[in-house]
Amino acid sequence: MNIRFKRPVLLFALMTLAVTAQAQAGGLSSAMLTALFAVALLILLVVILLVSDIFMGEEARRTGADKTGENYSLFPRLSEITRPRAAGYTNGASVTHLKRGHDILLEGEAKKVLGEARVNTVAVSPRDFVGMSPIPKVLVAKDDEVKAGDILFFDKKRPEIKYASPVSGQVVDIVRGEKRAIDKIVILVDKEQKYTEREIPNVNGFASREDLVNYLTESGVWAFIRQRPYELVADPADVPRDIFVSTFDSAPLAPDLNFVLGKNATAFQRGLNVLAKLTDGKVHLGLNAGAEGAPNLAFTRAENVEKHWFKGPHPAGNVGIQIHHTAPINKGEVVWTVNAQDVAIIGNLFVTGQYKAERTIAVTGAEVRDPKYYRVPLGANVEDILKNNILTERKTRTVAGDVLTGTQIENDGYLGFFDDQITVLHENDEYELFGWLNPVAVRPSVSSTFPGSAFTDIKYRAETNTHGEPRALVVTGQYEKVLPMDVYPQHIVKAILANDFDRMEGLGIYELAPEDVALCEFACTSKTNVQEILRKGLETLREQG
């Protein structure tokens, strides 16, 4: 158990200044008195600390918790202080230390075991893609048989980008929503998967970059490549300045990509090679220097890329943060990002010639009976995974994605195109008597007013209560504390609300995606919907062109 050392230093500085000033002011006797008082106070504090330290040690011995070799003392051991700051596995590479941010520790982390689940249906939803027109051109009809890799639909505004079926099977439904917009295309999964036949291409065998781009768009893997700013699916006509891949996800309960990627190193490397062909700049790989163990060899031994090590709390794993600290996006520039698992899907196309759109997803959350990993196709139906796997004592909410950026789905709903996680948490719609007053409530918070903030390893049960009503922005500096970037998120929010385009651009809105400010939204005392506001701002800028 580790106690976080706070900023009492400053406090003491102020106090000491006060005391010295007093001492100078009052001659010997009153200075003596004040000094005595200060010393007495200090002794009292030390005694309290020592006594609690003894009690904690005693408690650890009684419960046998000290057998693990963990430090149960209030004070750090000498070895903890002298421990090298950078992990050994970085091999002396320079590490970007991100101080700002916050890890929300939640119960229900997925065990590193692969579970068995049969996915009967999958759905592909055009709504998962930013900026897609509501009614794309659908190339399949109900009851059609499709193979994995067959094209399902494309956007009429950008017909060159094709969206493929992740599985082979029968189209059982094309669900339409409001104003006949396509909500999702549902496919019944075949027992034996059939793939669209393609020759196994050679990365270096394409005559031109254009041919490679055409191959990628026709085969359906192009949709995995997204651009910043705006998080749109990348424009095949663009040549990006750089391409960024983050190899770790720092969001609450996020899947461990080292485990998820497993032994897929070949496909991953192939994918990186493909990406390297698409940019004039470099492919940047963000690695985690903050973990206990070294990252997957697929990441540390990756070639054809530039590696960057990052260490710090969430959102250090967000690709947006890594871009900012590697080579920030300026106005007019475009960079592309791909998720690590999707790099492997692209790479697999170049290993086997098949569009095998599968991901290992983490099923997490305190309300899940047995949180672990599953290997499922994109857009999988979650019914079979969650059946009999959710605790029934409380009302629950199922989220596709993590608790900061995910979308609520039904317990028999579908994952989104980019989701690699399911989180089930407590839907807490109950009133709490004097909730704002309760000093000992155990709940996740960035503020130090909850006693849990003194400990760095308390895990919380996530629940959906807002713990307060929306208010005007009052507290300042809160967003900046959880966003390790040289931007002023609160002022960007204000610029967006005021529709001030110059300000938004000037303050660096292009460097942000909603997921980067999710933690600001979590921390906001005034319960502002920061992600929604940012999305609106980006949307307006995109429409303005």
Binding site: Q24, A25, S30, G332, G435, R471, T476, D486
Partner: protein, 421 residues
């Protein structure tokens, strides 16, 4: 517990009765944290346990000790002016009771007027009652002189809340600090009552004191048969104060006659511990520093503002010492400046108000520093009024958006430079 909730819910007035519903909602959300849940998509699914009510309440808690000491000090100064209960702790309960009965009406008027206006505007605009006034309502009594007439207080608060806050759109939108605006209103509208040497001690007895028979007891103890014709009780007391007693604050003495004069009347310990005349909550330094410590440890208030304000004030005072000579006040050794007046109170509770302070980290450093500098200039170089923090903070409140503007401009131009490289 849920039965009680159902019982309370029965009293919920219909939404059409806006006034009643706002009132009910205000009290209901005070008692119960709402049952709202996060949205289904496009936002976070979990929220921090912190909300504005909690933030504000912690600030109020940090001030609680100031109330207790302020209460006692009112009583102590009152009896000191009468020449009764000489020691600081002599007549403990009497002093405490006198102070409590003196501060209670001030506190009630402050909150009834302020919250009343807030309720009215919330109902009119159809939004929930915001918590901003919780802190203002607790701060205002602490920065008022102990014998402020209640009607004056009510007018000042009405002015501050309506013109200073509601006109700008309510909590979070105000440019000027509400509590200081109320203070500055009293100061400029009724200068006779809030400046000079005679307003910092409560001399008279209000009707609450009389219910407890305190006036009679005092008159009996002093052997006063009756107050002479044409004289009020307070005038009588002032005419008969014991030798070596003054109602003037250390600052007033320092401004007129320099540090020597202060030392004639007050010891350093007295000033440090706060047994001096002054505004209700500003006198006891250790207790204010404990409040500041709470705010800093819980990271409610900005350490940047506090630290830079201290540095700004200290440097200015040192500079004045070095220049010296033009005025006795300038020669007061710099460290003593923190013992007199309300520096620490202004630093801990006034300058750190997040709404009216600068909002960028760098901006906060500049903002705090400038308050320190300007406040010290107003305090020492201004002939009329020997305290500077109120005016300095209000002045810098106005400049805070400008400071932020330049900090943001620097960020913007840094970004532009990146492009041109």
């Amino acid at each position: 517990m849920s039965k009680f909730l159902d019982f309370v819910k029965k009293f919920e007035p219909p939404k059409e009765k806006r006034m009643l519903h706002t009132l009910y909602d205000g009290f209901f959300t005070f008692a119960y944290a709402p049952n709202h849940v996060t949205r289904k998509s496009g936002g976070v699914h979990i929220r921090d346990g912190m909300d504005l009510k909690r933030t504000m309440f912690i600030v109020v808690q940090a001030m609680a000790l100031c109330y207790i000491f302020g209460m006692y000090n009112i009583g102590h100064q009152h009896y000191a002016a009468l020449g009764m209960h000489d020691g600081f702790l002599a007549g403990f309960l009497t002093k405490l009771l006198y102070g409590a009965l003196q501060i209670l009406p001030i506190f009630i008027v402050s909150n009834v007027v302020g919250l009343g206006i807030e309720f009215f505007y919330a109902a009119k605009k159809g939004h929930a009652i915001e918590e901003g006034y919780l802190v203002s309502g607790a701060l205002i009594p602490l920065i008022m002189p102990p014998d402020i007439p209640l009607w004056m207080l009510a007018i000042a608060i009405a002015f501050a809340v309506i013109i200073g806050k509601e006109a700008f759109g309510g909590t979070g939108m105000n440019v000027l600090n509400i509590a200081l605006l109320a203070r500055v209103f009293v100061f400029f509208a009724y200068p006779g009552d809030i400046s000079g040497d005679f307003c910092w001690v409560a001399y008279d007895y209000n009707w609450l004191h009389q219910i407890f028979g305190m006036k009679g007891a005092t008159m009996a103890a002093l052997g006063i048969e009756a107050i002479p014709e044409g004289m009020t009780f307070s005038k009588y007391v002032l005419a008969n104060t014991p030798d070596g007693w003054t109602g003037a604050t250390p600052l007033a003495l320092a401004a007129k006659e320099g540090w020597g004069a202060v030392q004639n009347y007050y010891t350093n310990a007295q000033m440090f511990w706060g047994a001096i005349p002054g505004s209700i909550g500003e006198t006891c330094k250790p207790i204010i520093l404990i409040g500041a410590a709470i705010l800093l440890a819980l990271r409610i208030a900005s350490w940047r503002i506090m630290l830079s304000m201290f540095i700004g004030a200290a440097l200015t005072a040192i500079l004045m010492n070095l220049v010296g000579g033009f005025h006795v006040f300038m020669a007061v050794p710099w460290q003593y400046h923190f013992w007199m007046g309300s520096f620490f109170f202004a630093m801990a509770f006034m300058a750190t108000d997040p709404v009216t302070a600068a909002s960028t980290p760098t901006g906060k450093l500049i903002y705090g520093f400038m308050i320190g500098v300007v406040g010290m200039i107003v305090r020492v170089l201004n002939p009329a009024y020997p305290e500077g923090w109120m005016l300095a903070i209000l002045f810098m409140n106005v400049f805070a958006p400008l400071i932020d503007h330049y900090v943001l401009e620097a960020n913007i131009s840094k970004r532009l430079k990146r492009v041109s490289q």
